[in-house]
Assembly symmetry: C2
Homo-oligomer: 107 residues x 2
């Protein structure tokens, strides 16, 4: 039985973290936040929508750059407070032009 939208636990700011993973390579590309509206749009449209905490606005990933993310699967964790979105990327996930936002090592 798939998990439905009302079961997702948004935090006190109305947000849930969403991990974005390449459906083919399994590379983790980015993490961003979704509110209820952006999650609903993501499920309906099959492309990723987020809530930008810095710009305080709905953000359709790729609307400007063309690097939209086509959604293959949306999963939710055991606590229903984190999402994992598998996608096919139309281009780099990172605003730096890197394929993934996680291009730097600590260890």
């Amino acid at each position: 039985m798939p998990v439905s939208l009302p079961e997702v636990k948004f935090d006190s700011s109305g947000l849930v973290p969403a991990i974005v993973q390449d459906a083919e390579t399994k590379e983790v590309l980015m993490m961003a936040y979704m509110n209820r509206e952006s999650l609903q749009l993501t499920l309906e449209k099959g492309e990723t929508y987020f809530w930008s905490r810095s710009r305080d606005e709905l953000w359709h990933k790729g609307a400007t750059s063309g690097n939209v993310q086509h959604v293959v699967e949306v999963r939710v964790d055991c606590d229903a407070d984190t999402l994992l979105i598998s996608i096919h990327p139309a281009g780099p996930a990172c605003h730096t032009g890197n394929r993934t936002c996680f291009y730097r090592e600590m260890m």
Copy 2:
């Protein structure tokens, strides 16, 4: 040049989200939060330590269950406010006994 601990941006609660990924299969296993101390311990000991927001305490993953996570790599994203930890798991990541916490589908 690797990113150093002082460059990591902890949020107003002193936490940073850490995505945990299986180094072999690339499966995303869980997401949890680290404070400065738990990140430092993770880097030093080569096993994952987190900050439990529900128990409000330092949490050595696997200390009770035996399912420790051996750290292979720690990466940081472009904003330095999210971590990606590649690990070799000694057992299931999820307290439910599932290999991954993301065992439920929304779409």
